[in-house]
């Protein structure tokens, strides 16, 4: 008896949560969102919230380095939205006519240094990276790799290429410190926040740090243009911003 009451209550609760949302949103279908690796956690949460508001919409997420995503879209991979870690990646799609409208900036980020927990190599600033054995950076054409070289140049730090291991995207780069033996990695601030206790954070002075901009746009020729626009609007909305902020992104 007790169990039946429980089941009944659960049913009522479920009806209570689903019914009003279904009444609000007439959208249905499926979209593929290609997002930068540094957006892995935040866009997973954004897609979930979008789905909660539009229960008949399925959002497929495709994460990778922004340069990989651009190459995929250019070679015709089915994608409805691109969210890239820099604007120049999206500009390439604009120039090639692959996106509907100019990209909108939806968040900002900056870089930080991740080292092993407890900071065994006693890294105090970016200048200390030059004496370490292995430093993980993103690939030279990946946005986080481009940003890292800017920050290193601004700080006047030169790292020998034979001490640099290059990750395919920012998560792989951070992974070299978290699971591998790399001594340090230069990644986004949001990534070190997401990594929590698996790493120790060393800040980069704001005078030499970069303010990175994330751009979002719908892809031209998408079969679900309406859904794509709805998702982009959702990311740019107040609710979307609250989610992004929760992951440590800064206001555009």
């Amino acid at each position: 008896m007790k169990r039946m009451v429980g089941v009944l209550l659960a049913c009522i609760c479920a009806m209570g949560t689903v019914a009003p949302a279904a009444a609000v949103s007439p959208l249905k279908g499926e979209i593929t969102v290609s997002a930068a690796a540094s957006l892995t956690d935040s866009f997973t949460a954004l897609a979930k919230a979008f789905r909660a508001a539009n229960p008949k919409v399925k959002v497929r997420l495709n994460f990778g380095s922004s340069s990989t995503l651009v190459a995929q879209i250019q070679s015709g991979a089915p994608s409805d939205v691109i969210a890239a870690a820099d604007l120049s990646s999206v500009e390439k799609l604009v120039a090639g006519g692959s996106v509907v409208a100019d990209p909108r900036v939806f968040a900002r980020n900056s870089l930080a240094i991740a080292v092993k927990p407890g900071n065994p190599e006693k890294v105090k600033s970016i200048n200390d990276l030059a004496r370490l054995r292995t430093i993980a950076l993103c690939g030279k054409t990946v946005p986080c790799g481009v940003y890292a070289s800017t920050v290193l140049a601004r700080s006047g730090v030169v790292i020998n290429e034979s001490n640099i291991t290059r990750g395919a995207d920012v998560k792989a780069t951070l992974g070299a410190v978290v699971t591998g033996d790399a001594d340090a990695a230069i990644v986004y601030k949001t990534d070190v926040i997401a990594a929590g206790k698996a790493i120790h954070v060393v800040d980069i002075a704001s005078s030499s740090n970069v303010k990175t901009m994330y751009g979002i746009a719908s892809i031209r020729g998408s079969k679900n243009g309406l859904l794509a626009k709805a998702f982009v609007d959702f990311v740019l909305s107040e609710q979307g911003w609250k989610i992004l902020k929760g992951f440590g992104f800064q206001k555009p």
Binding site: T134, A136, G139, I164, G180, A182
Partner: protein
Amino acid sequence: MSKAKVRDVASSTPGFVWVGAALGLAFLLLPLVGLVRRVAWRGLLGNLVGGPASEALRLSLVTSVIATCFVVLLGLPLAWVLARIAFKGRSLVRALVMLPMVLPPVVGGVALLGAYGKSNGLLGSTLYNLFGLQLTFSPLGVIVAEAFVALPFFVMAVESGLRSIEPKFEESAAVMGLSSTKRFSRVTLRLLAPALLAGTAVAWARALGEFGATITFAGNIEGRTQTTPLAVYLLLESDPEAAYALSLVLLVVCVGVLVAMRDRWMGRRS
């Protein structure tokens, strides 16, 4: 098999088998044609010589050859034990030896980190603390990763080679009074030569093409751990022509190895 017999089988094979076989072959060949079509033949040499491409090729050649030597040294006794000694749990041991063939290479890389990683590897931390030896992010790490994935291919070829040797040759050598070491080197090794060669070649080709375990365990350092497959992956975005040129080199080498060995590495079937 005589020629007449082959013709018999061919004429009695139903049409749908031919169609299926042709589709299967086309399925495998089409991507290769697609790759070759993309190669910029005119600038081929320029794409391979100088820059990261030639460094990757040099590194791949050196590491894969050393890894293959390592594979032969460890694989030969292993194959011998598996082929010749009946012990309890042999099929389990054989399955474990073959594991890297089917294990996703990235998982293999993670496993290698767990064993030989400097910070928390089972053996790696000891190696580092006692001898200051770090395998990760070093060319030595590349060799370890390549040997790990290539070893089963060698063992498989050599084990089946050993099984196909008629025991009577070794028995008569024993009757003639040859010691077990001499019997092995003069009779067994000589009869085993084709399988040994095939196993070595296939293991080398596999080592040369290693990607997942290498990038996970040894990282991706230009000139130190960035082997040819890693260079292909990273160049695809920045310099696709160089990536296609390197892919072509790997393709040609692998085709060369397999054609030269024909189907010997799976054990000769007559």
